[in-house]
Amino acid sequence: MTDTIPAPSTIEQTESPLAFKEDLGAFRLALRSWIERTVPKDWRERHCGGTAEEFARFQRWWFDQLRAARLANSHWPVEWGGEGLSLAHRIVIFEEMARAQAPSAEMFVISLYHLPATLFAHGTAAQRERFLNGVVEQGEVWAQGFSEPNAGSDLASLRTRAERKTIDGRDVYVVNGQKTWSSFGMFADWYLLLARTDLTARKQAGISYFIMDMRAPGVTVRPIRQITGESEFAEVFLDNVEIPAENLIGKENEGWSIAQSTLAAERGLIIFEAVERMAIAFEREVEMGRGTWMKDTAYLREFSALYVKMKSIRLLVRRMLKEVERDPHMGGSETATYIKLGFAVLLQAYNEFMLRVSGFDAQFEKPAIRSAGHHTANRFVDYLSSYSWTISGGSNEIMRNVVAERILGLPRG
């Protein structure tokens, strides 16, 4: 397996389907044509398995194409350099990408969702200028440094320390500690870091939110091998890493609430793409399953029940997008919580079902297609990787606590 697609050194603006955005039908056709021109027909075969570096190179290449057509950040508001696309447009994009089985820009999720959501609401003008442009103009990769080995579900008990000091006349935070479960941390240029700035405050209260350069001295990144056999996540060791004081997001010791309020909705947006891809996948399942498992009444009924659940998550995502439209700076809404919990449970149940009805074919070891989201053409890998939704970013258990306590008002345990 080789990967000979050249990574363009500079991005020239190409003809964009956005030129047709006034007419939704025309936009769809233009986008379809753009995808056909841009995405190599054989990318799935070529990116089946392969090294981490090949994956990263292809991701950068794909992101370059999206940037060149101004599609990468088209969901951002116009005032922040995006296109402020409507819900209908975004559905078109996800639908066309999913139908064409185009690559998914997995490595840029934090760059495209978490980073802007955080900076829109809490960043300084200088931070927005530097870092949003960095994504759009340089294709910078961001990762997230929240979890620690002893602060998983109980994120607020994190122990990574950031001490404010003046070194050679510069105001910096000196950071020590260990982070884990950073998606694509090994390819990241920048890091959204939560660290403790006040040791005396209780739990959430003494935590601050930083922008950290992943190339700063003292940063060591080690990939974590997952149960799928691949390494999508990384551990990050921080040894006297200096962060310039201007890279603090919001006020000192207020990082926790910033991180919490901006992230719930962003998870919903990532699920937007994931669930639209799943909806298209249901159509493919029908094509493939017609001659085999779909002939079994019981399995077809189970599949239909999964379809109902999938439909409900799609509709909840639409509801959340309307909420965001009404209030772009909303915090974590109830809807976002339902989407996270419901999608995680669905994704695992759907993949478990497909694994189960696919018989021995799904039991063979074979390379998974990379950059294909949760549809790697390898049932077992898809099933196993569903844990990245049920465990991380607030495990199912944490989400159920949130529903019970914050939404239903049941007393804390």
Binding site: F282, R301, V308, K311, S312, L315, L341, P411
Partner: protein, 356 residues
């Protein structure tokens, strides 16, 4: 109706039911103090019987969004009011009746003067024999919804040639024999009609397969909406109980296993509501929008049944008593699962559509 009008309608329905049909009155209804007839008078006086008829027949011509809202509130109140088949009949006549049929029945129905019972979809049809300007019906009509106290009944019939039709029976005049078939859920009622070789004018026949589809759509939407209302209410009652009941020196609502069960129920309910809202919109836009309705009914009635079953368990002993309202939700939820197509049947509809 726009959102504001809908919200106003919802508020008014809710207020009426809170005053005319609070849960303690339903509990007394269960013990024999009839609430059915008083409620019928209320809905008639308020014009709810006219919701789905056209304005030329004194109706309000409201769409599925208003109906869903009404049915949700009826589910919340566990209202033992025989409104559903009357509203279905009203829609059928308005959409599919000829001019004579409309003028004969629609005004009286919209005015609440004539209450209609409806034979369930999927029940064994009567035998229909046409001869000139009259038809004859043979057999027994089972599973006629809200027959008790009704003036008319829309029964399902099939000819030997395979024609499926609905036939309107005038219960007082036609001399048929009606039997009540009381349900475990006494907030609804079933009956059967024996009408061997009953001769009727041909004008009593409403024909066409689209009729059954329309009945299925309206009924499915109604039961899905009823289920979300019921589920929401019994969940709220259960959560309230968990916040006040103590065992082992703690509020039982603080036990995580119970909390997680409540969270899963809430999740299922929210999912069902999302599908129902969407199904209502698509039905408003396109009355053939079928799989959405099946999905809504599956999601809503399954969420309701699971929740109502667990609600009794979460209430413990008190939920097992006749005096507590829990069992009324459970019984209505279990009936909802089978009314207008069981969950298995609806999943098969979805499956067929997906596999098509």
């Amino acid at each position: 109706m726009d959102e504001n009008e809908l919200a106003m309608l919802g508020d008014s329905v809710r207020e009426v039911l809170q005053s005319e049909c609070p849960h303690d009155m339903v509990l007394r209804h269960v013990d024999g103090e009839d609430l059915r007839e008083p409620l019928w008078r209320t809905v008639k006086d308020l014009g709810w019987t006219a919701l789905s008829a056209g304005e030329e027949y004194g109706g309000l011509g409201l769409g599925p969004d208003a109906l869903a809202l009404l049915y949700r509130e009826l589910g919340t109140a566990l209202a033992p009011v025989p409104l559903l088949p009357t509203l279905i009949a009203s829609e059928l006549l308005y959409r599919f009746g000829n001019a004579e049929q409309r003028s004969e029945w629609l005004g009286g129905i919209a005015a609440g003067e004539r209450r209609v019972a409806l034979m369930q979809m999927g029940a064994t049809p009567l035998r229909l024999v046409r001869s000139g300007s009259s038809v004859k019906l043979y057999g027994t009509a089972e599973h006629v919804l809200e027959l008790k106290g009704a003036d008319l009944a829309l029964v399902l019939a099939r000819s030997d040639e395979g024609e499926t039709a609905r036939v309107m029976i005038h219960l007082q005049e036609d001399g048929v024999v009606a039997f009540e078939q009381p349900l475990v859920d006494v907030t609804r009622s079933f009956g059967k009609l024996r009408l061997d070789a009953l001769q009727l004018p041909a004008g009593r026949v409403l024909g066409g397969p689209q009729l059954e589809h329309a009945i299925a759509c309206h009924g499915t939407l109604a039961i899905a909406a009823d289920s979300t209302g019921g589920a929401d209410t019994i969940l709220a009652l259960t959560v309230e109980y968990l916040k006040t009941r103590e065992q082992f020196g703690r509020l039982i609502g603080s036990f995580q296993a119970l909390k997680h069960r409540c969270a899963d129920h809430k999740m299922a309910l929210v999912a069902a509501e999302a599908i129902l809202d969407d199904a209502v919109s698509s039905t408003a836009a396109d009355q053939e929008a079928w799989p959405d309705l099946s999905a809504a009914k599956v999601a809503a009635s399954e969420a309701y049944a699971a929740l109502a079953q667990d609600a009794v368990q979460l209430h413990g002993g008190i939920g097992f008593t006749w005096e507590h309202v829990c069992h009324l939700f459970l019984k209505r939820a279990k009936l909802n699962q089978s009314l207008f197509g069981s969950t298995g049947w609806h999943l098969d509809q979805i499956g067929r559509q997906l596999a098509a």
